[in-house]
């Protein structure tokens, strides 16, 4: 036994000594100094989102502002931006020389002459005018009555043509001339006062392209410019017909103000003073997520009662389309977009939407834009679990 014990002790001592030397402090594992990669979970919608803009435009850091930021500028605006005018122009690189000249040339010309005239003369003269008109009226034919009134009413504010007009009626009252003489006198007066400026005016008149209104301007210019060529009655009729519609709105004095001074370039971001950023035709940013769609369908399913006694109703599927306003209330009647073929069934789906609307649909806040147009598929198997 002693031999066994001694050999065992010696053996263990040898093994331990060997282990202490060889198994001491194993080499440190080489850990690569790599920075950990951060993994983010991004919803698919965040990638598919795009804001309204122009497809050809360069991408900007900041997109054109949304309409909701300044709803007070144009309440019924249809385009995005912050411009005062709702233009629909495409993007061009630079402004064309023509419109710049046209728009820039006329303003200086009319202002010096027209404004003083309009401020000083017409207001005091307006009141006396009707009286001479009435005075004149009995003597000439009714046509004459019609004619001077529009001329005066339209004229008093716009300067060049109207200054002469008040004077000739006095002459007419005095001399009792015929109507044909008046336009001549007007034309002469205009020719005397500002032959050069008026020559410019007609050029500037056709310039505003976007406006439907500018037609009256050339007409007046023509009436002022070319009474000699045409009959006196035609311009009169035109003048008489126009004031009836635009009596209060139209103001020849403000033509320059009405002119579209916006450069044709920089379109795209429709009413924005900023350049358009890269984007699609529509805002596609916000969409109903699957869970939101599911929540909506669950609500509608709770309001849905299948028509009683309808055989095989679980086989029908109807797509109902409806609009919600910003408060989440139903806007208009829900429409059956894709009928199931069974009228009762379709009506039950429509009623479900209306019933839920009365009860109050719970819609997530902040996605008012997309409640505008919702399609819901009414499938009894999915909604009611049939």
């Amino acid at each position: 036994m002693r031999t066994g014990l001694t050999t065992s002790v010696i053996l263990h001592a040898v093994v331990l000594a060997f282990g202490l030397f060889t198994l001491s402090s194993p080499p440190a594992m080489p850990a690569a100094n790599v920075e950990s990669v951060a993994v983010d979970i991004v919803p698919m919608e965040a990638i598919a989102q795009s804001l309204q803009g122009d497809k050809k435009a360069v991408m900007h850091e900041k997109p054109a502002p949304l309409p909701t930021k300044r709803p007070d500028v144009v309440p019924n605006a249809q385009k995005v931006g912050e411009n005062s005018v709702d233009t629909d122009k495409p993007v061009t690189d630079e402004a064309k020389p023509k419109p710049v000249e046209k728009t820039s040339a006329p303003p200086p010309a009319p202002t010096p002459t027209e404004k003083p005239a309009a401020e000083d003369v017409p207001k005091p003269q307006e009141k006396p005018k009707p009286t001479p008109a009435t005075e004149v009226a009995p003597t000439p034919t009714p046509k004459e009555e019609v004619k001077p009134e529009p001329v005066k009413q339209t004229d008093p504010k716009p300067a060049p043509a109207k200054e002469p007009t008040p004077t000739p009626p006095k002459e007419t009252t005095a001399a009792i001339q015929k109507e044909e003489v008046k336009p001549d006198a007007v034309a002469q007066a205009i020719a005397k006062e500002q032959p050069t400026e008026e020559a410019k005016l007609p050029d500037s008149a056709p310039a505003p392209e976007a406006r439907p209104k500018p037609q009256p301007q050339p007409a007046q210019a023509e009436s002022a410019k070319a009474p000699d060529r045409k009959d006196a009655e035609k311009p009169v009729k035109e003048a008489s017909s126009k004031p009836k519609s635009d009596e209060k709105q139209f103001n020849a004095d403000e033509i320059s103000a009405l002119l579209d001074k916006q450069k044709p370039s920089g379109g795209g971001a429709k009413r924005s003073t900023q350049q358009a950023s890269l984007g699609g035709d529509k805002d596609q940013g916000q969409k109903l997520s699957k869970s939101e769609q599911g929540a909506l369908e669950a609500q509608l399913g709770g309001c849905w009662t299948l028509p009683v006694g309808l055989e095989g109703s679980e086989n029908f599927v109807v797509v109902v389309r409806f609009n919600l306003d910003t408060n989440g209330k139903l806007d208009g009647r829900p429409a059956v977009e894709k009928s199931s073929g069974n009228r009762q069934f379709d009506e039950s789906a429509v009623r479900a939407v209306q019933k839920c609307d009365v009860a109050g649909l719970q819609v997530p806040a902040g996605k008012q834009d997309i409640w505008n147009d919702i399609r819901v598929t009414f499938d009894p198997r999915e909604m009611l679990g049939l």
Partner: protein, 236 residues
């Protein structure tokens, strides 16, 4: 709070350092397991030597026994020295035989029974000597892993307490404590595995030797029975 030193990153991971860092319970377990391992190996070596010697002795005795030498001569030579195995059985049987015939046994049947008893006794004593201490191997083989595991659990408990105290869960804090704790299990397994293997081998070896000796004792009993019958017939 000495265990906060575990936060020292990977500095002292040699086996000796691990042992020294361990708490006293774990140290005790490790030392106990080491002693068990030493004792196990001592037994293994001892038994291996003893069994090989026994086998040699059996072979030599059988050779002598079946050489045609007279039993009295053989007894005379063997009775002087210390015998093992078959020799011890033979000596025990022959002693009983001599005692009975010197005094003139009356009943041959009783003599046969006495000789058998003496041989059984000698066989049992030989087997006890052969299989002694094999039980320790069995115990070590089954219990050492659990003892090592106990040390590990204690070590991990203390290391977790140290982690809680240091309020740091980085691997460099956790690892040394766990390595130290696992050392206890390693030592336990180190002791248990040879013990189990050796126990199985040694017990089967002992069985073989026992079978051999039982076979000899039966054979010798038959020879002695024949001798008794011859003596009785001569006397008659």
């Amino acid at each position: 709070m000495e265990n906060i030193a575990l936060a020292d990153p990977g500095a002292h991971l040699s086996i000796w350092a691990l042992f020294m860092q361990a708490s006293w319970v774990v140290k005790l377990v490790m030392i106990g397991l080491l002693c068990a391992s030493i004792w196990t190996w001592a037994i293994i070596i001892d038994k291996l030597v003893a069994y090989s010697r026994m086998r040699l002795a059996l072979n030599r005795f059988e050779q002598v026994f079946w050489s045609g030498q007279s039993l009295e001569d053989l007894y005379r030579t063997l009775s002087d020295r210390k015998t093992t195995g078959m020799g011890a059985i033979f000596v025990a049987a022959m002693r009983e035989w001599q005692k009975s015939f010197e005094k003139g046994a009356k009943s041959p049947l009783a003599l046969q029974t006495r000789i058998d008893k003496a041989m059984d006794l000698a066989l049992t004593r030989e087997m006890e000597r052969l299989e002694g201490r094999l039980g320790f191997l069995a115990t070590t083989g089954s219990a050492a892993p659990f003892i090592g595991l106990f040390g590990t659990v204690i070590g991990i408990m203390t290391s977790f307490q140290a982690i809680a105290a240091s309020k740091n869960t980085s691997l460099s804090v956790v690892a040394p404590g766990i390595a130290e704790a696992l050392l206890a299990t390693a030592i336990g397994l180190l002791a248990a595995i040879p013990a189990v293997i050796a126990y199985n081998k040694l017990s089967s070896d002992a069985n073989k030797l026992a079978v051999r000796m039982e076979g000899f004792s039966d054979e010798f009993s038959a020879i002695l029975s024949r001798q008794i019958d011859e003596k009785v017939a001569q006397k008659a």
